[in-house]
Symmetry: C2
Subunit: 481 residues, 2 copies
Amino acid sequence: MNPPDILELKKIVGEENLRDSKADLYVYGADASVYEGKAFVVVKPRTIPAVQELMAYADKNSIPVIPRGSGSGMCGQTVPVKGGIVLDMKGLNRILEVNVNDAYCRVEPGVVDDDLNRALSPHGFFYPPTPASSRIATIGGEIGNNASGTRSVKYGAARDSVLGMKVVLANGDCVNLGSRTRVASSGYPLERLMIGSEGTLAVIVEATLKFVPLPKFRCMGIANFNKLEQAGDAISEIIASGCSPSMLELIDKVAITAVNQSMNLGLPDVEAILLFEADGMVMEAVDFEIEKAREICAAHQGSGIEVSYDAKERERIFAGRKKLFPALSRYREYLASTSLADDMAVPFSRMADTARKIHETADKHGIIMTAYGHCGAGCMHTKILMDTTKGAQWEAAREAIAEIYEHVRSVDGTTSAEHGIGMSKAPAFKQEKHDLLDLMRSVKKAFDPKGILNPGKLMDAPDDWMSAARLRYVTQEGKDA
Amino acid sequence: MNPPDILELKKIVGEENLRDSKADLYVYGADASVYEGKAFVVVKPRTIPAVQELMAYADKNSIPVIPRGSGSGMCGQTVPVKGGIVLDMKGLNRILEVNVNDAYCRVEPGVVDDDLNRALSPHGFFYPPTPASSRIATIGGEIGNNASGTRSVKYGAARDSVLGMKVVLANGDCVNLGSRTRVASSGYPLERLMIGSEGTLAVIVEATLKFVPLPKFRCMGIANFNKLEQAGDAISEIIASGCSPSMLELIDKVAITAVNQSMNLGLPDVEAILLFEADGMVMEAVDFEIEKAREICAAHQGSGIEVSYDAKERERIFAGRKKLFPALSRYREYLASTSLADDMAVPFSRMADTARKIHETADKHGIIMTAYGHCGAGCMHTKILMDTTKGAQWEAAREAIAEIYEHVRSVDGTTSAEHGIGMSKAPAFKQEKHDLLDLMRSVKKAFDPKGILNPGKLMDAPDDWMSAARLRYVTQEGKDA
């Protein structure tokens, strides 16, 4: 792969939209993963023709291009591991159309999730895939990773909200995928193939999204369980009963401890807390769902059950979950919260034993792991809390992760629920999808014959995540972990 | 392309699962489209290894293979136009698992939609993509065409219900696509690429589907509109209001006439009838949606508005829509109902003017066309009623169809909503997706390098639908239309 000609790039995007200072390359070299890399240059195109020209130039000269939103990805998706050009798509950040009569909106990829929802809200609608990082996450990045969040149990992931998109191909051609209509069966659904492709197939420059009515009522509930398995049984029964919660969250003991320590919330000393929410246009319908969830929790020895429609009360109930992410970083001095094995999906009935397996495996290897997540969608989030200055802790993490993913595969789970693969989950992904890697490479080649789009990711990432790129940590032993 | 060796095939599937009599080849040569073709042989494998062996044999010997469910496709998807082997997938018709705790089921591709729903119903769930042909349509065929039906406005199409699948590739390899989990972001979503690929990429041998709770209450309403445009405005406003009907159907004047003539239903002499339905677990929630729809219909001069929860009354209200399809065949002596331009999707706000355009274009060309459909999903169904013994009528149909699809594209519509492309819609499809055809061919090649899977369909179908295959009609002029 070749370095680009800075003068050529300036001609294409304009001098003011190109950065190559040391500081810029440092910032754009990392995302929310454990990795760092180094691009040759960062460009921020402001128009689709500029993206087209850039791609044509990069393709002709075999230069890697890494499309990037806000860099909130946790698996190294946007880390430039082969140099090249980081394409900062936040320069394309307009909401082009909110069409309520046709129930779609068209947005540029750099639009931030919360901003889109602020634009939809006055019309009485919302865009539901919303991840926890919605304050910064861009629609392009969400599509690239098939993002979802706490409400995916009812409203699905990005793949359930995308109708079509405009993409720039590796050769610079701009094409329309999908449709603006609610249903479509017009040939290969290439727009769906893009969802979760992590910037390796084409550059999304516009998306057509559907949206759903904002519910008038929300009610949130909480239940504490002495045993993880009791919470697990409650989850399965809620699902099997045909209950339709708009949220169903599991918080494990490690997470409870972290939140209590860091925020003094006084959550009970139990193995698991379940949060459940129902929403709707009519209070009776919300009551119906909440009552079912409440009864099932009680039947499985859930204690301290509370439910509330009141906004302030809901906020109080949800506080533990909301503050979880920052709280984990303050769990114990010297322990950093690293995004490793950060999300996996398992069938609903396997949430509890998967959480148990995660804790046991962490104990065995002398690290600390949380197991919380959107159990209504089978999504388990984990963080590894470890002393990143110790090489031995990294080795322990490597072994623990391999064992945990082996368990995930054994219960018919999948490597990633909503964060994607990037590099950190590539080994587990490659084991899970071993029989599809060649097919994925052929598909990649159909879109990107020279392999310039985000190289070194997914099926093309190394088999060992620890050596996939430089880690953003230095061990006391004086070398990278 | 080569003919297969019958003895070899008998060894693979067993003598009892192979047919090559003249009558069998005739039956399996056609589907519900205007076309007929001729396969060399029909085989009905009973196991996945048999499918694998067949594909490996066909691939090695460059023999076309046409996967087929019940042959209810309307666009020629399963018509064997290059000879070869018709793969009757109804030999694989077991429901393998109904897992209520994990909210998925696993089925073989030959399972009939209604049979699956009969199996889910005792658990309190249903599989919603259900097309009108659900008595015969198979799950494999529905996935191959991204099928949907009257309830797609609320519950989506096949693509919204498929979690994963097992497919046999052209080379005989059997691989798992997607997952069993509710969410997943583990690399390219190849399972989604399969949905709507019409048997051209791989052979589906198992599908993992999600299902949704059966609603306890259903309420149906009807409103008559003197002008199509009034109905159109009501549709747009229902959508824009955030109303969530479980069904929203448009019946046009031609369809009303057909139903009245054939069944003496006494539907009013208006330009359009809207049927609307809401469903839910709680009656207050259903009332809320129905009242909103009813008010909006009234505000747009809808008359004769009725709503009912009663099953018999709902049946009576829906009778016109339900009997529409057979009624069209009895519209007038000598006129046959042909599946041409049979479904297109347009944005909600363009339903009325698209219906108007269809009627005007038909009038201009001396044919009769209906325009009815699932307007809650932007899906417009049409039939051309014509004297198929007259070559001039076929020519008129060709011109009318071209003009109508030009309109569909001009209003941001798409060629097919839920029936697929096959051959009859290939010209319109190729015009709509002109910039994607090479990319689709490259993707096809990645899956099926020798091009043995259902050749001559989609992007590889001829530019003129009338000469794509032999038509199942003979004109008085003594030659094929």
